[in-house]
């Protein structure tokens, strides 16, 4: 789908002035793109410098141990890493189908008059400050979740089953699952709004010909629309996943903030971002600060890995 724009450059009848402008324009765009690279480079270098004492002290142990003890000055990141991966994956799993549903609804099913209001409403969901999600999560969502989801789930789980292990926890709504659900609500508008824009760019002729062959809406979406926007759709998902991985305030309020590995879906946990947000402001020891910064670097490494994996998968799909 990457359009072959080569023809544009070999087009005839270009004036000298046009060429100068073209060069300048391209150079400007290139500079902007390079600025991104510099920004990330600077970010990583500053994190690496700041986190170095932690890596020097703990070595690889920093990545696979889960002790987080500011008094003894022993730090291990694996609890936060696992918490980040679980909450982000769950959030994406919840948000993706719903976001797709919303986008498709807006493009294909929605009555003309409601299209704009509903589209705006979904975008508004992205504009609610993350602290509001946190407060709402803590005061409204958590008690509701504890009463209507957590309690019934715990009651219904047969003793001794895997299910019981998964649902063990204090029924107060501050746990991995409720944090994931809040995250899902937060990233939904990012995925939905972008997907909607992508679906709108499909030339009508493409879809109409599919409908003309007697396809149902479902089939058109599945076999024509989604493949058409696939690479952009991955971008939309990355947008959502990126927000989920790095979201701080909302998660901090509702995840229960317990270091170490979460033992069930209803157990308290911590994410990398929540740990940094919780402890950075008050961290005084050099090693404590360094470990928090190192944690930030680990988040970048995770993002790298997730993205690389995504590219690998998409690359394969695109070729087949």
């Amino acid at each position: 789908m990457s359009a072959e724009t080569d023809q544009v450059e070999t087009a005839p009848a270009r004036t000298a002035k046009g060429v100068v402008f073209d060069r300048t324009f391209e150079a400007l765009c290139f500079a902007a793109a390079t600025l991104l690279l510099t920004a990330l480079g600077g970010l990583i270098v500053s994190l690496a410098i700041g986190g170095w004492p932690a890596f020097r002290t703990f070595g690889l142990r920093f990545f696979y141990t889960s002790t987080w003890d500011p008094v003894q000055e022993v730090y291990g990141a694996s609890g936060a890493i696992v918490g980040t991966l679980i909450t982000s994956a769950l959030a994406l799993a919840f948000a993706l189908p719903f976001a797709l549903g919303v986008a498709i609804f807006l493009v294909e099913l929605c009555p003309e008059r409601l299209r704009r209001p509903i589209g705006t409403a979904v975008e508004l969901l992205a504009g609610i400050p993350s602290i509001v999600y946190g407060m709402w999560g803590l005061f409204v969502f958590a008690p509701w979740f504890a009463k209507h989801v957590q309690m019934p789930a715990m009651m219904a789980s047969p003793p001794g089953s895997v299910w019981e292990k998964l649902t063990a926890g204090v029924p107060n709504g501050a746990n991995i699952l409720s944090a994931s659900l809040i995250l899902a609500i937060m990233i939904l508008p990012f995925i939905a709004a972008t997907m909607r824009e992508l679906l709108l760019t499909i030339p009508p002729a493409v879809r109409e010909s599919a409908y003309g062959l007697g396809s149902t809406t479902f089939e058109v979406i599945r076999k024509v629309s989604i493949p058409y926007v696939r690479s952009g759709a991955v971008g939309a998902i990355m947008l959502g996943l990126g927000r989920a991985l790095g979201e701080t305030m909302a998660v901090t309020f509702i995840i229960g903030n317990a270091h170490g590995f979460p033992s069930s879906l209803f157990a308290s946990g911590a994410t990398i971002a929540s740990t940094i947000a919780n402890e950075f402001a008050e961290a005084t020891g050099e090693l404590h600060t360094a470990s928090l910064v190192a944690l930030g670097l680990v988040l970048f490494i995770i993002t790298f890995a997730v993205l690389a994996l995504a590219r690998l998968l998409i690359g394969r799909q695109a070729h087949s």
């Binding site: 204090v170 107060n172 903030n257 947000a277």
Partner: protein, 358 residues
Amino acid sequence: MIRRVFLALAATAALAAPLAGCSGKGGEAKAPAGPQISGAGATFPAPLYAKWAEAQKQATGLTLNYQAIGSGGGIKQIEAKTVAFGASDKPLKPEDLEKNGLLQFPTVMGGVVPVANLPGVTPGGLKLTGPLLADIYLGKVTKWSDPAIAALNAGAKLPNLPITVVHRSDGSGTSFLFTSYLTTVAPQWAKVGASDSVAWPAGLGGKGNDGVAAMVKQTPGAIGYVEYAYAKQNGMTYALLQNASGAFVAPTAANFAAAAAGADWTKAPGFYLLLLNQPGKDAWPITGATFILMHRQQSDAATAKAVLSFYDWAFKNGDAQAQALDYVPLPDAVKTLVRQSWSGVVGPDGKPVYQPAS
């Protein structure tokens, strides 16, 4: 397209412009004329410093902007010299002050209060001792019907609920005081230790005082600890604690003051003094002061002078405001000691930048 976005932005700005316009009429909201002094650090005293700043701006025209970024942040910022003064709930040790050329003084006090969610139990209807509190936070005592709790609370009807331990998730001076207290009174707490964030052996973390209060309120059988103002303003079920004299005392401003009165500040270089488990039959055992940090050697004498005159003014005129917001003013004797210590802040000429009129 870009033009459109700019238009949208301009429209937003235009929406805000009338607001700026009508502010002129309000009179109060004019941009400050004089120099502005910035300080940053501890969260605990921030509301009071805001109150003092507001009062002094009206009284003397001095504009002092204090922002709560956490005690650790305050210490880092004063070391980086991005602010005129830092603030911390956790006093720096004399040797750390020496190393960084800093001066430290207390401004105001407060207390940490254990709170619980126990159906049928009224505020003050629960008695605890330090070692028992430590056992609860260690996860050793897990039920409210535990004999150790029952022995202290003969006659009280405690529900047969599991105890859910709630602590602060963010690093905090409140946690520092609380864990320091447990370290002082309960040997078994030594393995966890005292700090603004520790590796909690049990329970879950709430963000901020508010997060802890909310978690406790939402979980029957929960126990937590918050600053005094939160316990009071939220009408939470607080516990009576046994102090060093063996008496069970309530968390009240008078009892915090009693803890400070019993302490000997003259023998504390750099005012490094924790008011934990102080003698005195009324002394609340988890009391603490909050501190200001400044460089001893100032390159800008005027700014340093303004900071010290700010706190001098507050010491003289700010006690009522402190009490109204549930803080506890320093005893007069301590204020005098603090004023004397200010001669340690000198300008480029080597002379003290501020002479308090006494």
